[in-house]
Structures are given as C-alpha cells and as structure tokens.
C-alpha cells in the first residue's frame, strides 16, 4: 500500500503532460469534428465524399497503427514532426473522425419541423444552422463528446510507445526501477480513472446547461452514446 502511494506521488509530474496532450488533441479534434461533420451534410457531393473518406478511414483503422504511421512513416515523406506533434496529430485525426459522426448525427436528430419553421420564417441556411439547429443539437452532442474526451485521455497511453513521456511511460520507468509492478500499474489505473471521472463530470454539467429549456420529450429520444474503447 505504501508502495502504491509512493508510485502515485511519483506519477504526478507526468499528469500535466497527459493533460496537455489530451487538451490540445481535444481542441484540434473538435475543430476537425465540427468541420468534417458539417461537410458531411453539405449539398456539394464532392465535399461529402471527401469528408466521408476521412471519417471512414480514421474510424476504420486502429489508433495504434495510426500513431505508428505518423511516427514512423510520415518522416519518410519529408515531413519531420517531433514525437509530440506526430502523436497529437494522430490522436486528433482519430478522435476527430468519431466526433464528426457525432456532430452529423446530432444535427440530423434535430426535428425536421424545426428546420421547416425556420424556413417558413425565411431564414437563410446559415441563420438556420446557427440560431435554430446547433442550439438544439448541442445537448445531444455533449455527452457523446464527453465519452470521446475520455477515449482521448485513454488513447494518450499509446503515446508511451513512441517515446513521449506521459503517465504510462513514466509508470514504466518507475516499474523498471523498483521492479514492483502491481502498485505502479494500480496507481496508474487509479489516476486515469480519476481524470476520466472529472471529464465525465464536466460533460454532465455542460449538458445540463445546454438542455435547460428543452422539453424532456427530446431528451428521452437521446440515443445510447456509443463509447469508443481503449
């Protein structure tokens, strides 16, 4: 038990690294998700296909393979990224693809009649999106975005395999030094767990605020969020 506490304390310096990587990737992924999600619904066929290809490719291949690809293969094309940059790029693109589907699904879930009422008021497409559709899509997006954020947090552990010093690689180092596995990995699991709970809590709070005035009828239709494992 003491060993566990000791390990926990030793892991702490690595927590900011994990958080930073998670945060930056999350921000990039959000931009990608909003962009790709909107493009998937575009009236322009080429844009739809292009964003669709991005989404399917990055959802259809393993995150680990993507990380390896960015780390080992991309430099061969002359693009030299630091390990951090490669890792963040891979994770952002991966989670962004899942996010794009969340965005698309949520926008489609807004009842058609709301869009028609907006058309009846003669709003332009952009006005409709901004003032009517997105405020109503947001409560649907947030819990799923929260799940994706937790997935992102967990995926940062994979970066330990490409020389980035975050929590998992720090734990490896401690383990190699002390030779004691259970406390280290146990402590590591606990830290991840606490962080994932925090993210989940934030997401719940945001969701409550965003769905303040929406009828409960809408909330019952909320689909079971699909969580992305690993």
């Amino acid at each position: 038990m003491d060993a566990a506490w000791a390990s926990l304390v030793e892991l702490l310096p690595a927590v900011p690294v994990t958080l930073r990587v998670t945060g930056v990737s999350a921000a990039l992924a959000t931009l990608l998700a909003l962009g790709a999600g909107a493009l998937r619904l575009s009236t322009h066929r080429g844009l739809r296909v292009l964003s669709g290809a991005y989404v399917e490719v990055f959802r259809g291949t393993s995150a680990l393979v993507q990380i390896f690809w960015f780390f080992f293969v991309l430099p061969l094309f002359g693009l030299s990224l630091t390990p951090h940059q490669a890792g963040i790029a891979a994770l952002s693109l991966n989670i962004g693809a899942y996010g794009a589907e969340v965005v698309r699904g949520s926008i489609l879930a807004v009842p058609a009649i709301q869009v028609e009422a907006a058309i009846a008021l003669n709003m332009t497409a952009r006005q409709r999106l901004r003032r009517v559709v997105i405020p109503q899509a947001l409560p649907l997006m947030i819990p799923q975005a929260g799940n994706l954020a937790v997935s992102l947090l967990k995926a940062t552990s994979l970066l330990s395999l490409v020389t980035i010093v975050e929590m998992t690689s720090r734990a490896q180092a401690i383990r190699e030094r002390t030779g004691d596995e259970a406390p280290v990995y146990g402590a590591l699991l606990v830290v991840y767990f606490i962080l994932s709970l925090v993210i989940g809590g934030v997401a719940s709070g945001l969701e409550r605020r965003a769905s303040r005035h929406l009828p409960d009828l809408r909330r019952e239709r909320k689909p079971v969020p699909m969580e992305v494992p690993a």
């Binding site: 058309i119 008021l121 003669n122 405020p135 005035h213 809408r218």
Partner: protein
Amino acid sequence: MLRNVTKAYGAEIVLRGLDLEVARGERVAVIGRSGSGKTTLLRLVMGLERPTSGDIILGTTTMWSELDRRGQPSASERHLRHVRSRIGMVFQQFNLFPTMTARQNVAEGPRHVLRLSRAEAERRASDLLERVGLHQKADRYPSELSGGEQQRVAIARALAMGPEVMLFDEITSALDPELVGEVLDVLRELAVDSGVTMLIVTHEIAFAREVADRVVFLADGEIAEQGPPRRLLDDPTDARTKAFLNAVLRR
C-alpha cells in the same frame, strides 16, 4: 390578388391537376380526410415542396420561375426567399424554437431576417403577443407554455413577418380539447380584423362554417367540391363530401 393555379403530382400522385384560386383577403378553409393532400397543398404554397408540374403563383409572381436540368420546376434560393417572405405558416406542432423565450421567438424573424433594430423587433413582438393574449407570458420558454399557448405564440411569430398570406396546417389537431378554443379565438379575430388572406386546413367543421368565406373539400388529390360554407356543409352535392361530413358530424 393571390392566384394559385396548381397542377401538382407528388411521388405517388398526391395532388392531381389541382386548380385553386384564392382572392386577396379571402378566408378559405380546406377540409378532407387524412391523406387527401391537404398538408401537401399548404407545403406547396409555402415552397417547402416542389410541384412535379404546374405553377404556383402569388399575385403576379411565379414561385418556381425556372426549369432545372430535368425540366422540372425550379427556382433559386433567393427567389424562393423573396416569394416566401410574403407568406407565413403555422404548423401542427413543435413550432417554436425551444431555446428561446416566447418574445425572442416572435422577435427572431423581424430581427434577423427583416433586420429591424432590436428595440423595434421587441416592440413588434410585444404588440403581437398582446394581440394573442399572451403578454404576461412573453418571457417564458416554450417548455413552460401549454400547447394552446405555444400555438398562439406561433401565430404571433408568423404574423410578425407581415405576410400577405397566412397558412394554417391543422394547428389545433394536436391539442388537448380544452385548449383548442383559445387558438380558434385568435384565428377568428384575425379573420375579422386583418386583411390577411388565410388558408386554413382544419378538422373543426363548425369553425370553418363560422369563419370561412369559402370551404374547399379535398378528396383523392383533387378538389371534390368547393363553395360557400353554408351551402357546402349543409347541402353538399358530391357523394364524397356527403360521406365525409356524415362520418365527421356523427361524432
């Protein structure tokens, strides 16, 4: 003058070669069984659907002014918006934007589409809300209003755009019976006070008899019969009209 000459065919033939002319300021009630094409008719007038063939004309302006590659009626988004700005529509349910208060809902169009100043838009909203009797609840959210109140706000919202024509798609059908009256009162007042042309799809036969200048009975995608309410409702000539009215009035 609003002339609506439509020959419209949907995916299955929903409306066949339908011709309907409505005079400016006239109040027309449209009745018929579900599936007879009533809602489609309104949606075509509003430009939410495209006719397979035929014309929809508002005054002197044709709504679908072009033909697309397949020779079907088409129009640019700008043209459609231009025409639509003269028409207002109230739907059967879930009209209002849930993230905005009643006042914000009514002011939304004037402010962002007509580009009035915020003060002006809000003043217009207040006036209209008062007209439909909901001034005290102006700052409530739709989820806090009853169905009847929501529909009244929806009417105010449509009126806020200053349309020449108002379309009502069975606006009382989804309401609990005790709430229907307040909405019909507002419609009645509108019919009397304003010079707005009204096209009302409804199940409320008694209301149609009282308020409408003309009643149109739709069956199987065409106008089976039309005429002044008294005549059509008390003394219908077409067999389908008779059958329909018998079934309805027996209730």
